[in-house]
C-alpha cells in the first residue's frame, strides 16, 4: 500500500499538468486568428487617387494589382512577363461624403480586403486639392493602414485619369511615379513631409504635379512643375523651371544639369551637379527682415562647345561667375513666384526665423502672412568647378 501511494501522487500531478497544457493549447483556437489574412484574400493597392466629383463628393480611385493574369497558370514555364498584353492592374473607384465613407463604399464592391500596406503613391486631383487637402490628409495620417512614407502628388486634371494609365516600362503606375520622384530632378514629397509642412509654422507646402504626356500612341505620366499649397488648399502652380529654383532654395537638389553661354564666346558649357548645399541665414535689423541664401555647389563640366580652354583657371573662374548668375536667376524666379505672387512660404522661412529669433517671431506670428512677402532675400551662389572633364579644351574645334 505504501508503495502504491508513492506511485500515484506523481501520476495525479502529471495528469493535472497535462490537463493544464491541453487547456492552454485551446486558447490558441479561441483567438481565431482574427487578423490573419491570406495573401489570396488581399486586394493589394499600389496607388490611390482622390478626386472631387460633380456633386461635391469625394471619389476614391485605387489601382489594384491583378494577381491572376492569363498565362500565369503554368508557372514552371516562363510566366507572363511584365508589359505583356494583359493588364497588370485594375482601377476601381467609389465615392462618398468623405474619404472614410468612400473607402467603405469601395470595400463593398471589392471581393477582397483592401490592403494599404504596399500603397506607395497618393494622387490628389487638382479640383480636390484646390478645394481642401485638410480632410484627406487627416484620414491619411490618422488611419493606421496607409503608409506615411508613401509619395504624394497632385494631378493636373483628375487623379483617376492618371491611375488608368498603363505604363509601358515599369510593372505598375506606382512604380513609375515613385521612381520619377526618386530621381530628385523634381520634388519628392511623402505624406509625412506634406503633413509636417502643412502643420508647420509656414503652413505652406509643395507637392509635385503629375501630368499625362502623350507620346505617339502611348500615354505616360510625367512630373512637371509643383503645386503650391497654402493654408490647406492648393493655390497655384509653378512650372518646371521655377520648381528647380524651389529645389535649390529648399536644399533638396540632388541632380541638375545647368547649361550656360559665356558672354563673349559662341556655344555652350554644361555643368553637372556633384554636390550642393544651401544655407539660409536670417537677419532682423529694426523692422527689416531679411534672409541670406548661400548656395555652395560643386560641379563637373560635361560638355563644352565653346573654344574656352577649361584648364585655364582664369577661364573657369569666369565660368563659375556665369554659373553663379544663372543659379541666382533661377532661384529668384522661384522666389518671385512664391513670395510676391502667391505669398506662400514654401521655403519655410518661418522656421528659419523662429530658430534664430524666437521672440521676434512670436510677436509677429499672427502677421506672418503680411511680413513674408516683405522679407528681403539675398541669394549668393558659390559654384566651384572641380573637374573640367576628361578633355581640357574642345580639341575637335579649330579656331
Amino acid at each position: 500500500m505504501n508503495n502504491s501511494e508513492g506511485m500515484f501522487v506523481p501520476m495525479r500531478k502529471w495528469r493535472a499538468a497535462l490537463l493544464l497544457l491541453f487547456l492552454c493549447s485551446q486558447t490558441f483556437f479561441l483567438t481565431g486568428c482574427w487578423n490573419r489574412i491570406e495573401i489570396n484574400d488581399l486586394a493589394i493597392i499600389t496607388a490611390a487617387g482622390f478626386d472631387l466629383t460633380q456633386d461635391e463628393k469625394v471619389e476614391i480611385t485605387v489601382n489594384l494589382f491583378l494577381t491572376h493574369t492569363q498565362g500565369n497558370v503554368d508557372m514552371m514555364g516562363g510566366s507572363s512577363g511584365p508589359g505583356g498584353s494583359t493588364p497588370q492592374s485594375l482601377v476601381q473607384s467609389a465615392s462618398g461624403i468623405n474619404l472614410a465613407d468612400a473607402l467603405s463604399k469601395l470595400q463593398q464592391i471589392l471581393s477582397r480586403n483592401i490592403f494599404w500596406g504596399q500603397n506607395e503613391v497618393f494622387i490628389f486631383g487638382e479640383t480636390l486639392a484646390r478645394r481642401e487637402l485638410i480632410e484627406p490628409m487627416d484620414f491619411l495620417t490618422r488611419h493606421p493602414a496607409p503608409r506615411e512614407r508613401a509619395n504624394v502628388f497632385v494631378s493636373k486634371g483628375s487623379a483617376k485619369e492618371v491611375l488608368k494609365l498603363q505604363p509601358p516600362v515599369e510593372r505598375n503606375l506606382a512604380e513609375v511615379l515613385r521612381e520619377l520622384a526618386k530621381t530628385q530632378t523634381g520634388l519628392n514629397i511623402t505624406v509625412k513631409e506634406l503633413a509636417q509642412m502643412m502643420a508647420g509654422k509656414a503652413s505652406a507646402a509643395v507637392i509635385p504635379l503629375v501630368e499625362i504626356k502623350k507620346q505617339e500612341k502611348i500615354k505616360i505620366p510625367i512630373i512637371k512643375g509643383t503645386a503650391i499649397v497654402k493654408n490647406g488648399r492648393m493655390i497655384g502652380r509653378m512650372d518646371d523651371v521655377a520648381t528647380r529654383g524651389v529645389l535649390w532654395l529648399r536644399n533638396e537638389i540632388k541632380k541638375a544639369t545647368v547649361t550656360v553661354t559665356p558672354e563673349d564666346k559662341e556655344g555652350y558649357v554644361s555643368f553637372e551637379l556633384l554636390k550642393s548645399h544651401t544655407e539660409l541665414t536670417p537677419h532682423i535689423e529694426g523692422n527689416e527682415w531679411s534672409i541670406t541664401a548661400k548656395i555652395d555647389t560643386l560641379d563637373d563640366i560635361v560638355e563644352n562647345t565653346t573654344s574656352i580652354n577649361l584648364l585655364d583657371t582664369e577661364q573657369t573662374k569666369r565660368l563659375e561667375e556665369k554659373l553663379a548668375d544663372d543659379l541666382v536667376n533661377r532661384v529668384n524666379l522661384a522666389l518671385t513666384r512664391a513670395q510676391k505672387e502667391m505669398k506662400a512660404d514654401i521655403f519655410n522661412f518661418a522656421d528659419v526665423f523662429y530658430r534664430k529669433y524666437p521672440k521676434e517671431w512670436n510677436q509677429v506670428k499672427d502677421r506672418w502672412d503680411e511680413i513674408y512677402p516683405q522679407v528681403k532675400v539675398k541669394v549668393e551662389a558659390h559654384p566651384n568647378i572641380t573637374r573640367p572633364g576628361l578633355t581640357g579644351k574642345n580639341f575637335l574645334k579649330r579656331n
Partner: protein, 526 residues
C-alpha cells in the same frame, strides 16, 4: 507483474549495497561466491550457470598426468591455437610435482594472467572470451588474456566526414576504441576507468579523462551517474545517454556523440570526460555546450578565417532552419506590409492558385520533406538517391504545377532542409528540425509575435539547461569573454591559449605564451 517488479527491486537493493564496495558491477547473486577448494564443486556451480550454453566449452585434463584441471572457454571468443600452444602444452608436459597456482603461473608463457577468487570473476572472464583454468585443491583460478573475436577494421567515420584530418573512426570494440585514444594521447595522464553496465549484457563501459585537466568533481559525477544505471542491457550509447543526461525532457542533446577519436581527444584535452561503450562505434562526451554541437573538426583544420566564416554561416543557417518556414508563414499571413512591394506582388501571384492557407501549405511541404528524409535515411544507398529524385524533382515540381503549393513555399522548405543538414551534429540538427513545427503553429496563430514568443521559450529553455552542471549556453550566457574566441569566431591556434571555462579552470593555459609565429626579434643587427 508484481512478482517481477519485486524481483527487480530486490536486485536494485542488493546492487545499491554493493555499489558502496569497490566493485560496482551488477552481478547476480553468485557474484561473490568464493571458489571452492574442490574442483568438482566449482565445476558443478559453473556448469549449472552455463547449462544449455553450447558455446561454452569445459575441457578437463590432467596437469603433468596427475592433477585434475579444467579449462573453460567460450568458443569463437578465444584464440584456440594460442591456448593449445601456450597453456595446454606446457601444463600437460609438466614435470613439476607441486601443481599450485603460483607454480602453474610460472609454467605458462602468456603475458596476461589474472588470478580469480570468486565464481563471479570466472564468469566475467569466460564472458570476455578469456580461457579460465581451474585446478583441483586450489581455491583460486587463473584466466589468460587470450581472447580473440571478430571485429570490424577501423574505417572512416561515415556520419562525420572531414576534408582534412584523421580518417579513422571508432569501432564496436571497446579495447580498440580505448587504444585509439591512447594512440593520440600517449602520456600517463590519460586515465581510463572501466566498469560494467547491464544486468544481463554486462557491457564494458570505459570513462576516459585527463588527469590534472578534468574537474575531479565532474569525473565523480559522471561515475556516480553511470553507477546509478540499473537496466538489463546496454546495446548502444544512446541508452547510456538517456539515462545520465541532466534534463530528460529537453529536445536538445546534453551529451555529444562522436565517431572520431580525434574529436574525443580534443575534448579530453579541454577537460571533458569521454564515455566509451562496448559495442558502439562512438564516444559520448560530457559536458557539452550548445556551441560545441555546432562545431566541426574542419573548423580547426581549415585556415581560421575560413573556419570563422563557416561557423557564422552555420549559426545563420541554424536560425534559418528553426525559423525559415515560420517567418514565411507569419509574414505571408499577418505582415504583408513588411515585404518589399515587388516581392509581395510576385508572392501574391504565385500563391493565387494555392487552395490552402499558408500554414497548411507549409505543414504539408515540411511533413513531406521530413518523410522524404526519413525514407531516404532508411533505404539502401542505391535506392536512396531514387527517393530524392522522386521527392525533389517529381513531387516538388508537380506540387507547384498542380497548384497545391506555391513555388516560394517549396523554396523556403528546400532552404530550410539544407539549413537543417548543416548542423555538424545530427542530434542538434534534428532537435531544431522538430522545434520548427510548433514554431510554425505559433507563427500562424500570432504572427511575428508568436515567433518571438516561441524563440523566447526556446531561449529560456536553453539558458536553464545544463550539461553535467555546465550551463548549456556557456560561454555566451553566463558570459565568459575568454571563451568567446572559440565560439563567435575560430581564433587562430596561437590565440587559443586558455581552455574553456568550467572544464579547465585549474589548468587554465594550454599553450605557452608567445606562440604566434613571427621572425625572431633583435637578430638583424648582429
Amino acid at each position: 507483474m508484481v512478482d517481477r517488479r519485486k524481483g527487480w527491486h530486490r536486485l536494485t537493493r542488493s546492487n545499491r549495497q554493493k555499489s558502496s564496495n569497490a566493485n560496482p558491477a551488477n552481478m547476480p547473486s553468485f557474484d561473490q561466491t568464493p571458489l571452492a577448494k574442490s574442483l568438482a564443486e566449482n565445476l558443478q556451480m559453473l556448469q549449472s550457470l552455463y547449462a544449455d550454453c553450447a558455446d561454452v566449452v569445459f575441457h578437463d585434463f590432467l596437469i603433468g598426468e596427475q592433477t585434475k584441471a579444467v579449462l573453460i572457454y567460450t568458443d569463437g571468443l578465444t584464440n584456440v591455437e594460442e591456448v593449445d600452444q601456450h597453456v595446454l602444452a606446457p601444463l600437460q608436459q609438466s614435470l613439476e610435482l607441486q601443481h599450485t597456482i603460483p607454480n602453474i603461473r610460472n609454467m605458462i608463457s602468456v603475458l596476461s594472467i589474472k588470478l580469480m577468487r570468486t565464481i563471479g570473476d570466472a564468469v566475467t572472464e569466460i564472458s570476455n572470451g578469456n580461457p579460465v583454468l581451474l585446478v583441483d585443491q586450489e581455491s583460486q583460478g587463473l584466466s589468460f588474456g587470450l581472447s580473440k573475436w571478430q571485429k570490424r577494421s577501423i574505417e572512416e567515420p561515415t556520419a562525420e566526414s572531414v576534408v582534412r584530418g584523421p580518417r579513422e573512426g571508432f569501432i564496436e570494440t571497446l579495447a580498440t576504441n580505448t587504444s585509439l585514444l591512447r594512440q593520440k594521447i600517449k602520456g600517463p595522464h590519460l586515465k581510463i576507468k572501466s566498469m560494467r553496465i547491464g544486468r544481463y549484457s554486462n557491457t564494458p563501459v570505459a570513462v576516459a579523462y585527463m588527469d590534472g585537466i578534468a574537474d575531479p568533481a565532474l569525473i565523480e559525477e559522471v561515475m556516480n551517474r553511470l553507477q546509478r544505471i540499473q537496466i538489463d542491457g546496454v546495446l548502444s550509447d544512446a541508452a547510456i545517454e538517456e539515462l545520465i543526461e541532466d534534463n530528460p525532457f529537453s529536445p536538445f542533446p546534453q551529451l555529444l556523440s562522436t565517431e572520431r577519436p580525434d574529436v574525443a581527444c580534443g575534448y579530453l584535452l579541454e577537460g571533458h570526460v569521454v564515455i566509451l561503450v562496448d559495442g558502439t562505434p562512438s564516444a559520448l562526451i560530457a559536458p557539452v555546450t550548445f556551441f560545441s554541437l555546432l562545431q566541426s573538426p574542419d573548423d580547426y583544420t581549415d585556415r581560421y578565417f575560413i573556419g570563422t566564416a563557416t561557423r557564422w554561416l552555420r549559426y545563420l543557417f541554424l536560425f534559418v532552419s528553426l525559423l525559415g518556414p515560420s517567418l514565411y508563414v507569419a509574414v505571408v499571413s499577418f505582415h504583408q506590409e513588411m515585404l518589399p512591394t515587388t516581392l509581395l506582388l510576385t508572392l501574391a501571384r504565385s500563391r493565387e492558385q494555392v487552395p490552402f492557407p499558408a500554414l497548411v501549405e507549409a505543414l504539408l511541404m515540411e511533413t513531406m520533406f521530413e518523410a522524404l528524409r526519413e525514407a531516404g535515411a532508411r533505404l539502401p544507398k542505391q535506392i536512396g538517391s531514387a527517393v530524392s529524385i522522386v521527392g525533389a524533382l517529381v513531387i516538388g515540381q508537380a506540387a507547384i504545377s498542380a497548384g497545391i503549393a506555391s513555388a516560394p513555399m517549396v523554396m523556403v522548405v528546400a532552404i530550410t532542409g539544407i539549413a537543417s543538414f548543416m548542423a555538424p551534429r545530427f542530434t542538434a540538427g534534428i532537435a531544431v528540425r522538430l522545434l520548427r513545427f510548433p514554431m510554425m503553429f505559433l507563427a500562424s496563430f500570432l504572427g511575428l509575435l508568436g515567433v518571438i514568443l516561441g524563440v523566447t521559450v526556446i531561449l529560456t529553455h536553453l539558458l536553464t539547461l545544463r550539461s553535467f552542471g555546465v550551463p548549456y549556453m556557456e560561454p555566451l550566457a553566463p558570459l565568459q569573454v575568454r571563451g568567446l574566441k572559440d565560439v563567435l569566431i575560430r581564433a587562430p591556434r596561437w590565440a587559443l591559449r586558455t581552455r574553456p571555462h568550467l572544464t579547465g579552470e585549474w589548468n587554465k593555459y594550454r599553450e605557452a605564451p608567445g606562440q604566434r609565429p613571427s621572425p625572431e626579434k633583435g637578430d638583424e643587427g648582429e
